[in-house]
Symmetry: C2
Subunit: 768 residues, 2 copies
């Protein structure tokens, strides 16, 4: 409060001084806002560091897991505005995900043992890497509950593939990529038999297993290749997070674990609970894996097939120098390889220390064959002291570490202390601590998992929000806190509530590395990334009804959508028909998405410019089923409608056409034409403004002008139809087409005005 | 840019001046941030007006429709941070919505003609009102695609009920409430037969119908009563939005319409499209309905039953003075009653004018029986000129109007112009315009639909974002722009991307009117708002397996969840069993939610403090199915796990108990006890700090202390078990229970540290 008052009086003083006059900040406006809203100077600085004015861009884009929402959350730094939820494991109708046939095929890949799984528990996203640097091409995310991995293509932010782990029954650790995205790494969590049958818990030690899976990624195809992927079988310790080596440690990966006690609870039968037995020992095991060696063994045929997957047996992994163990402080979460690939930092939530392992020392021990023994499964154990560089006391509940751009500087989350510690891992010295709110899980620095972290900002992913935000019922948002790490002291900048899902980990990439498209090539199946077999061109729309020999009939529609009508506007089917509707969005304009919803059939498509989407359902009840566009696309959006008529079997239409609700005359036509001529004058003025300015320097405006030109072309077509009808004195059609001509003019004017406003607000210059 | 430079030099100058030293703002820090980020003075002011520091509260809470996402979006003003997505029509696993048995029952209410509909197209939310003021108790939202209404209880932000309109086939207009929430009003959109069978479009004028439905709301029960609700049948014009009268117009409601041409398209067969024929006339019809009269007629038995719903026939409505029509400018969107109930403002997207109707004049015409004629269905038409107060030219595409706190001041969105117009509806004068980005649909003022709007802020709900944000693929976020309306000129403050869904309308309520709970009463079925029949107390957990006469067996679990274990930890079933699991969250602490996910069974529950949630599935495959807590609840969250074992039919466990992974000795026990004694010392220090400060003045801390006390109680229980085992020299159990004792200590310390930090950061005072 003292600081705030100081600023206030200072600013008030300034406002009175001659040298300070005329400024919006100094004339007391900021002063007044600060006073009214109880802001301190520090708050105003934080506001200025995060506020992003209209049309501004964020410097970093974050991909955050959505936890049990099964989605990915995309937000910007420093504005902390959420830009998109990308549907991954859970159907989401706004995106048509799990509603159109194309995306249903992706979700179907994720069935577990034949069952639909309509959610996922996403934990750790990873961006594809080239030479250890985020390349912004693909994103990978795991499902813990059902051991799956999804591939998201960042050229359109859509989920393209889901693969199911053939042998795990849970999979918390993942996804992590090798430095050139050769593999996506995931690890089992709760030990279970690799085979799918029942095995009693009494045989836990002998028959339950963990493992680490290396999913082969084909970058050209943008897909994981399960047949070229393999799993390294591991003891029934609960494997947790991994990281891939890089530089000197490339070819190796590191996975930590908990419950290496192999304890099985049963509190209901008097046994102490899992939480007691799984945290009883002082140490668990860091798993050190030579994945390049494992790959060689896989290629040499040393793996076995289990449930169709390739598994490198534990005894082979132990014997062939693929798998090693090192003690690590108990219940760790996260093993993080340094940018130079020389060190791995691990900390345990139930120990106050972080441990800095040295890859060089580990390799020396392995080469010397110097082990302190073997675990019960014959896996060599490297001595803790032989493998560490430093051990540093950080505080209560250290959990996850991220690297700064500055040499030797790291940040570690402290779960129990609700703090972030900044420390020097070369010298083993704590430099700064900051309180967060509350109970931080992971933290994330900008490009923090890459070979060259950017520093600048840190995000604290807090597991509890409690009182941080306006209350919204018993289920609270989480809280991502943005921290400025550019200076010596960490500074808290912003609290962002997460409105849906429980994020676990996130990755941030420099925004300019992402180059997403704004439209698809015409007639595109976006889930298969190829021209759709159902692509339909303007004027080629058709509806066909065909029956097979057993009398099963299909009504199939190849249609289009464009401002502001769906072709066809009437679909006729007979009861019992399978109805297939394929719609191609003919728009080229950015953001001109059309939706397609139909009454009572659970149909909702999102058809972005260029996309072809399909829906299939059985019309099992007679009736009238309105459909319409669900994206507010234009002034006539509400009128972008149609009817599916499900007729009785064998229905024949009676003679006599449509009843007209209103009959139009020549006077109506003439009046409409006059309106159109007047409207054209307005359009001509707008065009004159645009073309007299340097609009070609503004890509957004160039896009608008192209679109406006298209719409004017459509207007011309409608005008011709109107005039043809008028020539035949068919005033009904003359008037209606004249109105349609005007509707295209309105769309043209809409675009022109948007373009004109943009030019005015962005300092366009008059030319000539 | 000129302004920015001016500030910079000004601030730089200040920093050098003696009177300006020592301030974080003036010592050049703000200057530098502005320069680095290219911010103008206006930007910094906007930042200060919206930035909300950690722990701060928003002044208003917004409930926004989520469009075809089928959800409600909750955000704060002025921070524009999204606080929650509330699942309404679409299953959402983070909330367990559509996954637990209790919420599945709510979604099941929303089946349409027997079919599951797993999305909704939400458009217009309404907050319950008392005397025309938002009371913050309930929220209502429509589904356009499938004619449904949902009821959300704002005491816990959960969806409680979905009702399906018995006669409509689409329903865009809704929800709107009468001044004491007697009724929730919805209107049909695309005309269709009221009966469910097929009727050819050739009979459109005769057999297709629109209507306005009045859903009776029972506030005591918090539920709509379909049996006490009724529909006023209307001509097959596309009815659109409504508003209820208030004050002098209470008892009446107003609904506008488009396509009163009754045009039916068919572009695929050469007919001009719907968009041409539905916008051909200059005017559509404002529907004026005496709902109090309709209610009387319903109670007097004048309605007929169609599909089980109560319908007041069109001829009765026309004859009995229930329904009147007035011309309105074409293709309107929104009819908005003034706070004093005397005026209704309507504007049409294809006309440049807004019309201010006078309720007094309308009533005078009705009383005088002065009509200009009847429509083809016999409904009296009131003359336009006889009913209006003013008609005002605003710009291109006027769409929706909101009222200010200042008398006679309103704001109207201009879709084609991409602007907001501020004008005086008493005098019919435009006062100000501001450009938005781009193509505004609805706009919303604070408590703008109530009897006493608050002014202050306006939100522009824009339908296109185009270039406003970092690109995220072909499907763009929408853009809600916050506008400061406290001064004479409107000022743009903030652009908020909407990351999921396509919001149409929103309502904002003063935050302090909302009093949501942070926990449920113990063992609560939140969807039925009563104690669950499956409520389970600590220590009363049980699993039962029962088979019926036909050999169908059910394994049923009454379990509990609490930091950090699920009871039971092992569930045994036999293949083919129906498995029912009921879990009660024993926590009382704010935000201590536990989740419950199980491998391969599509099971994901969100169990907030006090809640009882259930899941039912068929264990149709033998095997081992891990389950675990999906909310990161505590340091031992990962260890909050268990196994469902699906055994072969008739399986009998072999003799011999669990293999222990590790055997513990007296030394292990003694070491753990020493740790516990040391930990207790830390706890005592924290307790001393808290109790020596005025912690009881901080409700958040009081909550934490209560929770910590509970955890210490649990620690005591585990300690007793450990000591009892030690007395028997059972070192295995002694050690494990001693560790469990420590786990409870860790939870206690976690809470204590959080409380201590809170006190330190919130200026707690030392007492005595």
């Amino acid at each position: 409060m003292r600081t705030a008052r100081k600023t206030l009086s200072l600013l008030t003083g300034l406002a009175l001084g001659a040298s300070c006059a005329g400024s919006a900040l100094a004339d007391g406006q900021l002063d007044k806002v600060m006073k009214d809203r109880g802001l301190t100077e520090k708050d105003v600085l934080a506001a200025a560091k995060t506020y992003t004015p209209t049309g501004g861009r964020d410097e970093y884009i974050v991909f955050s897991s959505g936890g049990q929402s099964g989605q990915i959350i995309v937000y910007g730094i420093p504005s902390m505005r959420i830009l998109k939820y990308v549907a991954v494991f859970t159907p989401e109708p706004w995106q048509g995900y799990g509603f159109d046939d194309e995306s249903k095929a992706v979700l179907d890949q994720g069935k577990v043992r034949g069952k639909d799984i309509l959610y996922g528990d996403t934990h750790h996203p990873a961006i594809s890497e080239t030479d250890g640097e985020y390349d912004g091409q693909f994103l990978f995310i795991n499902d813990k509950a059902n051991p799956r991995v999804a591939v998201i293509d960042l050229h359109d932010f859509e989920t393209k593939q889901i693969v199911v782990n053939p042998v795990y029954k849970s999979q918390h650790g993942g996804a992590f990529v090798t430095p050139n995205t050769e593999y996506v790494i995931t690890a089992a969590q709760y030990a279970a038999p690799f085979e799918n049958g029942f095995v009693p818990l009494e045989e836990f030690n002998d028959k339950y297993r963990g493992g680490v899976t290396y999913w082969k990624f084909n970058r050209e195809k943008g897909r994981i290749e399960p047949e070229n992927s393999f799993t390294v079988e591991a003891p029934p310790y609960s494997q947790d997070l991994s990281d891939a080596g890089k530089g000197p440690s490339d070819g190796w990966s590191f996975t930590n674990s908990f419950c290496s006690e192999r304890y099985v609870g049963g509190i209901e039968r008097g046994r102490p609970p899992f939480e007691a037995g799984c945290s009883a020992k002082d140490t668990d095991f860091l798993h050190v894996i030579n994945w390049r060696k494992a790959e060689e063994l896989f290629k040499a045929g040393k793996t076995v097939k289990i449930n169709g997957g390739n598994v490198l047996p534990l005894d082979v992994a132990a014997k062939e120098g693929v798998l090693f163990l090192i003690p690590e402080v108990k219940s760790p979460h996260g093993v993080d390889v340094s940018p130079d690939g020389k060190y791995m930092i691990v900390s345990g939530k139930l120990d106050t220390h972080a441990t800095v392992y040295s890859f060089e020392k580990i390799q020396a021990a392995i080469k010397a064959g110097k082990f302190e023994g073997k675990d019960p499964y014959g896996v060599p154990i490297i001595n803790f002291q032989d493998s560490i560089h430093k051990q540093v006391e950080l505080g209560l509940g250290p959990l996850h570490t991220q690297y700064d751009s500055k040499e030797c500087i790291v940040y570690t989350s402290l779960y129990v202390d609700s703090m972030v510690a900044k420390w020097n891992y070369c010298e083993g010295k704590v430099l700064d601590k900051i309180s967060i709110h509350y109970n931080i899980g992971h933290l994330m620095a900008m490009e923090g998992d890459s070979r060259s972290p950017d520093g600048k900002y840190l995000v604290s992913l807090n597991k509890l929000a409690i009182d941080r935000f306006n209350p919204v019922g018993p289920l609270h948002p989480q809280n991502h806190q943005l921290i400025d790490i550019s200076g010596d002291k960490m500074e808290l900048l912003y609290d962002m509530p997460l409105p849906l899902g429980e994020p676990h980990y996130a990755v941030a990439i420099k925004a300019d590395k992402l180059k997403p498209e704004v439209r698809y090539k015409s007639g595109w199946n976006s889930r298969e990334d190829k021209v759709s077999e159902f692509k339909t061109r303007a004027g080629r729309e058709k509806t066909e009804r065909n029956c097979d020999a057993s009398g099963n009939c299909t009504t199939e529609v190849w249609g289009t959508v464009i401002r502001s009508h769906i072709t066809p506007e009437i679909i006729e089917a007979q009861v019992g028909d399978t109805v297939k509707i394929h719609l191609t969005n003919l728009e080229r304009a950015e953001d001109e998405v059309h939706g397609f919803a139909m009454y009572g059939q659970n149909v909702q498509l999102s058809i972005e410019p260029g996309k072809t989407s399909s829906t299939t359902f059985v019309a099992d009840q007679e009736g009238v089923f309105p459909y319409y566009c669900t994206e507010f696309c234009s002034a006539l959006h509400l009128e972008m409608q149609g009817y599916l008529l499900v007729q009785p079997k064998g229905y024949q239409a009676k003679a006599g056409g449509m009843q007209e609700g209103v009959a139009y005359t020549q006077a109506d036509y003439d009046k409409q034409v006059k309106t159109n001529v007047d409207t054209q004058a307005v359009i001509d003025q707008v065009v004159a403004y645009i073309t007299s300015h340097n609009y070609q320097d503004f890509p957004t405006v160039v896009g608008l002008v192209e679109d406006a030109t298209d719409q004017l072309g459509f207007a011309k077509g409608a005008k011709e139809k109107a005039e043809a009808a008028a020539a035949k004195q068919d005033w009904q059609n003359a008037m209606l087409w004249a109105n349609q001509w005007w509707q295209y003019q309105v769309k043209t004017a809409d675009l022109g005005l948007r373009a004109k406003t943009f030019l005015e607000q962005n300092g366009a210059k008059k030319i000539k």
